[in-house]
Point group: C2
Chain length 199, copies 2
């Protein structure tokens, strides 16, 4: 439809996000001011707020976009017939590497998504559901192959795996585990989760 206007808006939005990636990565999220970001993007300060409601929303928008993209890529990378643990490692290490590559973005995003001020919006839940929808077939297939109990709900299985993922994230952010050790740690914990803690 409206060509000039729409195209320009898309370009400006991209430009803000690109500038944000550049500055937040270099100087940190809190250390970068909106005015600075506006200058880098070559626009006025107020304009940024007609694209994003808050400074954090810039991070949220960027991460949502990236995750969308990353997950669409993943469908190609995982083979549903390989052992469950291998598939899980591919999926969750991809997410994890994204975080290690964008520490500041990941931190702000996780604050909002994991311990939000208000319960998640309908839209945010949708993002989460899309995520589960991607994983459910994998778990179901693993159940069929006898790798997972069939008396457990898929939601619970997803929860256990997600819990380990969260644990790895916090271990990394707190400095308890070094970046290069995360892969091993995650594999160990996921295997233990599958096998159980009791003798």
């Amino acid at each position: 439809m409206s060509s000039i206007r729409e195209q320009h808006k898309i370009r400006t939005r991209r430009c803000i996000l690109d500038s944000a990636v550049k500055l937040f990565s270099r100087k940190g999220f809190e250390q970068t001011s909106i005015e600075e970001l506006a200058r880098e993007a070559g626009i006025g300060k107020g304009t940024i707020y007609s694209y994003f409601e808050t400074k954090r929303d810039i991070v949220k928008a960027f991460c949502d976009d990236q995750l969308d993209y990353a997950r669409s890529e993943l469908a190609a990378k995982t083979n549903p017939e390989t052992p469950l643990i291998d598939q899980l490692m591919i999926i969750f290490m991809a997410d994890f590497n994204y975080v290690t590559d964008h520490k500041e973005f990941g931190r702000v995003y996780l604050h909002e998504k994991v311990f939000p001020k208000e319960p998640l919006s309908e839209e945010d839940f949708q993002v989460q559901n899309d995520y589960f929808d991607m994983l459910y077939p994998i778990y179901r297939r693993a159940q069929e192959r006898g790798e997972l109990r069939t008396d457990l709900e898929l939601l619970h299985i997803s929860g256990h795996i997600y819990a380990i993922y969260l644990l790895m994230l916090t271990c990394w952010y707190t400095g308890m585990i070094a970046t290069e050790d995360i892969g091993d740690a995650m594999r160990t914990m996921m295997i233990q989760t599958i096998e159980g803690l009791k003798p």
Copy 2:
């Protein structure tokens, strides 16, 4: 030693924390300004910053104090000879109830502790270690009773349980699980973690 001065400082600190609990609980953390807090506490704005480095540190100090207290209480409540799952429920539901009672404090605290901007300080690690020290005997005793595998490191066992605790917290903050359902959900997930996901 110095009586008047020290006593007065302790009283002022307490007063700031009390005012913070009152205002943050009533109006929310972000919605309460430092000036307002200073007024409530009957002191100047600048004074608050000679007791706490940042607004968030007020929350951190309060929560650290409370957790210290809560954990010392717990030693009395738990009987190391009862089944592991019962002990875990007592400990983690106590922590959890504290969070539900102080949602705003918990949220800010969790942001700082779970996904911190900088790796945790030596002091913060100590708090975490104290926590583990409290739990290790429980896990070790459960291993001796044959409730837990003995080939797993206690650190890993602690990790699995903590992961479930984090999961419950995020489910609550995101609105995915209602307050009254948390107990059941946590018990279910912990039992599954102990039993394992594979057939």
